[in-house]
């Protein structure tokens, strides 16, 4: 008797567990086969103009060019720096310029402006000439690596456009530089 009662209780417990587990999956599995699934959404629906199917649009030439220009400027934009009253290219500057030459070969449609800059310690007129020599040094190096002079324009700003207005050697060393900008 006791064994029968225990067996009955266990059977009921198993049925309850099975019933509970079945409830948890009701939404997924309880739909009869062949019934239509209806989804309810709170979003507004534009009944007049059904949303167009996304289509793949090709970029215009201008957009491609703008993208390339941006990419070229990113790759060519690294500045190079000089010692005081010097327009000599350092080994590091030569490496940077070599990389620029590769970029300019890759983006052969673009020309660049090379800007020569100086720190504030020199005087204005001499610095304008020194800035030109700095820009010229870069131009000549790039030319040796196969970039035509006609693709490079030089502007010397002397000490008119400092990158850092500070009065320390750290600021001055940032200002003695060549900048490279995509021109067209």
């Amino acid at each position: 008797m006791n064994a029968k009662r225990i067996f009955s209780l266990m059977l009921m417990l198993c049925l309850l567990v099975a019933f509970g587990a079945g409830c948890a999956k009701k939404t997924a599995d309880s739909m009869p086969a062949g019934a239509t699934k209806v989804e309810i959404s709170d979003k507004d629906t534009d009944w007049q103009k059904p949303a167009p199917a996304p289509e793949s649009r090709s970029l215009t030439e201008d957009e491609i060019r703008a993208q390339q220009r941006e990419q070229a400027q990113r790759e060519v934009g690294n500045m190079i720096f000089f010692a005081f009253d010097s327009f000599e290219l350092t080994p590091e500057s030569r490496n940077v310029l070599t990389s620029k030459a590769d970029t300019l070969k890759k983006y052969s449609l673009f020309n660049i402006v090379i800007e020569g800059h100086c720190d504030e310690r020199g005087t204005s007129e001499y610095n304008l000439a020194l800035g030109e020599r700095r820009a010229k040094a870069s131009q000549q190096f790039l030319n040796q690596l196969g970039i035509a002079d006609s693709r490079m324009t030089i502007v010397s700003y002397g000490k008119e456009r400092p990158l850092d207005p500070g009065k320390t050697e750290a600021a001055w060393s940032k200002n003695r530089r060549d900048e490279f900008k995509i021109q067209n």
Binding site: Y126, L128, A129, V155, G158
Partner: protein, 434 residues
């Protein structure tokens, strides 16, 4: 208004009864080996017939005293230095007791009287009681009183020294505007300040033509360097591009040509432009940088800055013989020379341990001395048309401003140029624009 003042001045000057014989009286040799300092006392301005002085006359007195402060050969004396105080009862010689002035070592006494819009001013030499300068001005208003005071001081300087270039000149200079630089002009005392170019970019290195009708300068923009020529008559500037990458330090020669640093052979050399702006063969060519030409009054001597021996140094070219002589031997960085009109003195900026300072070199006796003392950087020295005053730009007060000293290194005086950094002053012989 000013035209009226001038006409009335001419008429009223003739009305003064006392003769002016400056040649027989006190004179100051501002170029002598040791500078003479003359004591001058400005007596309180008076009204007519015992009336109180007009505010116009008092303004005139203040401006005159301010102007005298720019003249190192004059020392302004105070009334407290005179025994017994004010020794005058009026503004003419008969109204002045000169004895206490003589005892107090006052060399010159200046009297001022005013009624309505009229002003009279007289300078007497105390030891001879002679009238050195006597002027009357009519129809003066508050807006023009500073200009009238400047003209009076110009006459006083002319009588005492034979020179008046300081007051008769216009300074052109470069000034920061909207992230760039434009050219401005003002009198040597900073009056009549005017912006004359509107080119955008950076306008630097102005140089006057000898007749004061044109300014040459460099315009720097994304388009590169261009030579700018501003015409005083039309108030219009034209920009001109040259082959190569630069157009630096354009400078008028006394005969109206322009010398400019161009890079036609791959490095900056100085070229003379003809009337069609075509460059001739380079002057004193070298492989190195050559900029900043400056000429004497004959146009045959040219000083310039060159890196041909390493760092930048000053050199002198004799255009007749082609000989190039090195001028500076001390220091490793000497730039921006200016040659005195007589060709004897060169002022230039030297980099020292304390920053740039202005030095002067006597080319005859080969001696050199420092004439500016900072702090900060003193740059861009420029001789006035008399070769006595030297203007320069200095960062001594924080921002860059224009100062004036003399070739003897007298204490530098600030020339007011309004807010914004100002630099590269250049003297022109014409009077300030009005």
């Amino acid at each position: 208004m000013k035209l009226k003042i001038w006409i009335m001045t001419l008429l009223l000057v003739l009305a003064f009864g006392e003769s002016v014989r400056a040649a027989e009286t006190l004179s100051v040799d501002i170029f002598g080996p040791g500078q003479t300092r003359v004591n001058i006392l400005v007596l309180p301005a008076r009204g007519v017939n015992g009336a109180a002085a007009t505010s116009l006359a008092r303004s005139f007195s203040e401006y005159v005293q301010g102007d005298i402060g720019f003249l190192p050969f004059l020392r302004l004396a105070y009334l407290t230095e005179v025994l017994g105080g004010d020794p005058s009862k009026g503004v003419k010689a008969d109204d002045i007791d000169f004895k206490p002035l003589q005892l107090s070592r006052i060399d010159l006494v200046l009297t001022i009287s005013g009624a309505g819009q009229d002003i009279e001013a007289r300078v007497y030499e105390t030891f001879t009681r002679k009238l050195l300068v006597g002027k009357a001005y009519s129809q003066v208003d508050q807006g023009g009183v500073a200009h009238v005071a400047d003209r009076f001081c110009a006459q006083l300087m002319r009588v005492l020294t034979g020179k008046s270039g300081f007051f008769d000149s216009t300074l052109a200079f470069s000034k920061k505007v909207n992230g760039g630089k434009e050219l401005f002009t003002a009198s040597a005392l900073g009056r009549e300040l005017q912006q004359v170019t509107h080119d955008d970019g950076f306008n630097v290195s102005p140089s006057w033509s000898k007749d004061g009708r044109k300014l040459a300068y460099t315009n720097i923009s994304d388009l590169g360097h261009r030579l700018g020529i501003w015409d005083r008559g039309s108030r219009v500037s034209r920009l001109r591009k040259f082959p190569g990458n630069i157009a630096i330090s354009p400078t008028f020669t006394p005969d109206g040509q322009i010398a400019i640093s161009l890079s036609l052979n791959g490095h900056p050399d100085i070229y003379m432009l003809n009337s069609d702006f075509k460059p001739s063969a380079p002057l004193a060519p070298s492989w190195a940088i050559a900029v900043s030409p400056s000429f004497d009054l004959s146009g045959r001597k040219m000083v310039f800055c060159s890196g041909r021996l390493g760092g930048p140094q000053i050199f002198l070219l004799n255009r007749d013989t082609g000989a190039v002589d090195r001028v500076t031997y001390e220091g490793t960085y000497n730039t921006r020379p200016s040659l005195s009109p007589d060709g004897r003195f060169v002022v230039f900026a030297r980099m020292t341990g304390d920053g740039h300072r202005i030095f002067i070199r006597d080319l005859v006796v080969n001696q050199e001395r420092q004439i500016s003392f900072g702090p900060g950087n003193d740059e861009d020295p420029s001789f006035d048309p008399d070769g006595y005053f030297v203007s320069f730009a200095s960062s001594r007060s924080g921002g860059t401003r224009i100062y004036v000293t003399t070739r003897y290194g007298d204490p530098a005086r600030l020339i007011p140029t309004g807010p914004g950094d100002a630099m590269a002053p250049a003297w022109g012989v014409a009077q300030a624009l009005n």
